[in-house]
Structure formats: structure tokens, C-alpha cells
Symmetry: C2
Subunit: 195 residues, 2 copies
């Protein structure tokens, strides 16, 4: 039996994962500003040409790399306790953004503010799917009578997630779990008080 | 009477303001990424050397330029109506950050996320003084019995301002005045419900 030819699809998937892992590691070590396609290629042991065939920029590499991590973000726990579940889910996001100066996810958020094309892609590929799941969790809480049926979910998402981005954008220090829980509790109370 | 010698201090102040106005105008026209010290010098009719004598980077120029605008941000109206006053004050901030892709203030916030030194300076020179005035406005509301005396003001500032930075960072569209007011109303209700 002749030796099997190497499977080009499997090899190409291995190279893709190596590139994404190299980008994450280098971003953590050096920060996004010092990240280069050349360094990613060297670390991943692929050619720069290979990287440019798949991605137009280092921001685009990082977006795909962060998507490797983002499954955890999009999944919403539903234990029946809304305060616990939102505290847990927001804590996962805070962990991904910490420490802000070397977190690849924080670098990607910042880069998305600078680069309109990348920013729109982040919003459409990562943020909006998470909001769809957030809305489903809110509807479950509405069905359980924990928040009013007529709550404006656009208001709710801004209030629950806002503190994280306020503190990130203005360098006010990322919140710990007790601080996250205090904010979640106030928002749930506010949604119930206004409806 | 001999002609007066030119006043070097007045001339230097004129040059400083010309540089700051040039930086703001160019940032609006071209965006922060395309802003260069060379272009600022040309527009302001000063030498690059003059700019570098006063500022270490284009981010530092923009911080001073934005400080020209920031008096409006730091001042908190106190008409006695907390919902009106916070809606008005947050609307001023939203105006300064709009449109996010050409607002010099939005560019400065983003640059402060990338550059730790600049970010700390923005926080200390612009954000913290605004929070001091926010706290004073909250204490006035507490004295008027509009929010509980034991409200955690760190929670309050995150909840009131969070929606703006959530929408800015994730490109969800800046809120209009009715949307700002709806969020403010929920936060005030939440502060009163939890205390």
C-alpha cells in the first residue's frame, strides 16, 4: 500500500491554529502595538505569504484568534438566578479584558475603535451574537417574572455591560467580582422599578 | 518712545493655541491615525521643533487640545432635577464623542487605551476632575432626598456613564437624547431601589 499523501486540508488547519495561537501569545508578551505579521509568522513557523493569504492585517488575525476564546463569552448560564448568571457572564468578559495593557481581547476592542472595517466585523461577528444570547436570557428572566415583560432590552444591555467598558476606556481599573455583582444588582432593581 | 519689543510670552501663547486648533481640525478632517506632527506644524505655521519642545507626541498635543473643550464636561448643571441634569451632562459628552470616527475626543480615548502613559494622564487630568464634580452633584441629590444617603458613588458613576462607553467601544451607535434619558431614569430608579 502506498504511503498516504499528506492531507493539505489538515495541514492548512494546523497552520491556521498555529498562527492564531502565536498572535495571542505575542500580543500578551509584547502588546498589540509591537505585534507584527513577521513575528507571528516566525513564531507559528509559517511564511508571511501564508498569513497574508488568509488575513488582510494583524487586527484581522487577532479577531480570528479571539474568536477561539469567544465561545465562552457568547454562552449564557441559565441557573434561574439572574443576578448570579449575569455576574458570572460579565466576570468571564472582565477576565478576558484583564489586564487591559496585555489582553489580546482588550487590544482587539481598541483596534476596532480605530479601524472602522475591523470594528464593524467585531460587532457583527462577536458582539451581536452575544447580544442575541443576552436577549434570550432576558426573555427567560421575563418568563420567570424576575424582570418586567416590557423592559427595553437595549437599555438593559447598555446598563449591564456599560460599567466594564466605562472602566476599560477610562483606565479606572477593572471591577472585581463583588463590584460586578453590586452593579448587576442595581441594574436589575432599576429595570424592575421603571419597567 | 521706542517701539515695544514683541512680547515673547504672548507670541508663544498664540503659537500654542494655533497648534491645538490645528490638531483638532486635522483630527476631524483626517482622523487620528493620519494625523502627523508635520501636518500640525504646517497648519499652525510653526516649526516641528516648536511642537516637540512642548509636547512629546501627537497624543499629548491632542490631550491639551481636548482640554480646551473639556471645561464644558467638568461642569455639572444643578437645576434641582437630577434626571434633567444628568441627561444634559451626558449629552455634552456624547456630542464630544460624535461621530466616533472623526471626533478628536473619541480618538484621544482610544489612544489612551493603547498608550498607558497618555491614558493615565487623561484619567488624572480630565476624568478624575469630572468624577469629583459628579460626586458633588450626587451629594447635592442626596441632600435633596432624591437618592439614598448611602449610595455607592463608584457604582453610580459606572452606571450613568457606562452606556456611552459600551456603545462607543463596541460600535453600537451613539445614544440620542431620549435614549440617554431612558438610561439615566433606570439608574436613578436602581439607586433608589437598592440604596
Amino acid at each position: 500500500m502506498p504511503a498516504r499523501a499528506p492531507d493539505p486540508q489538515r495541514r492548512s488547519e494546523r497552520a491556521r491554529v498555529a498562527v492564531l495561537e502565536a498572535a495571542l501569545a505575542l500580543c500578551r508578551e509584547r502588546g498589540f502595538a509591537a505585534l507584527t505579521i513577521e513575528a507571528i509568522a516566525e513564531r507559528a513557523e509559517v511564511s508571511k505569504k501564508t498569513i497574508y493569504r488568509w488575513w488582510p492585517s494583524k487586527g484581522a488575525v487577532l479577531l480570528d484568534a479571539v474568536s477561539l476564546l469567544a465561545g465562552r463569552v457568547a454562552d449564557f448560564p441559565d441557573t434561574g438566578d439572574l443576578e448570579d448568571d449575569l455576574t458570572a457572564q460579565i466576570s468571564v468578559i472582565v477576565d478576558l479584558l484583564t489586564p487591559p495593557d496585555s489582553s489580546p481581547v482588550a487590544a482587539l476592542v481598541t483596534e476596532g475603535q480605530r479601524d472602522a472595517t475591523l470594528g464593524a466585523q467585531i460587532r457583527d461577528d462577536v458582539v451581536q451574537p452575544t447580544i442575541v444570547n443576552f436577549d434570550a436570557r432576558m426573555r427567560s428572566a421575563q418568563a420567570a417574572g424576575q424582570i418586567p415583560a416590557d423592559v427595553d432590552l437595549d437599555v438593559a444591555v447598555d446598563l449591564f455591560y456599560g460599567p466594564v467598558y466605562h472602566r476599560l476606556a477610562l483606565r479606572l481599573g477593572m471591577p472585581d467580582q463583588a463590584q460586578i455583582r453590586a452593579r448587576v444588582r442595581h441594574v436589575i432593581a432599576g429595570l424592575n422599578a421603571v419597567g
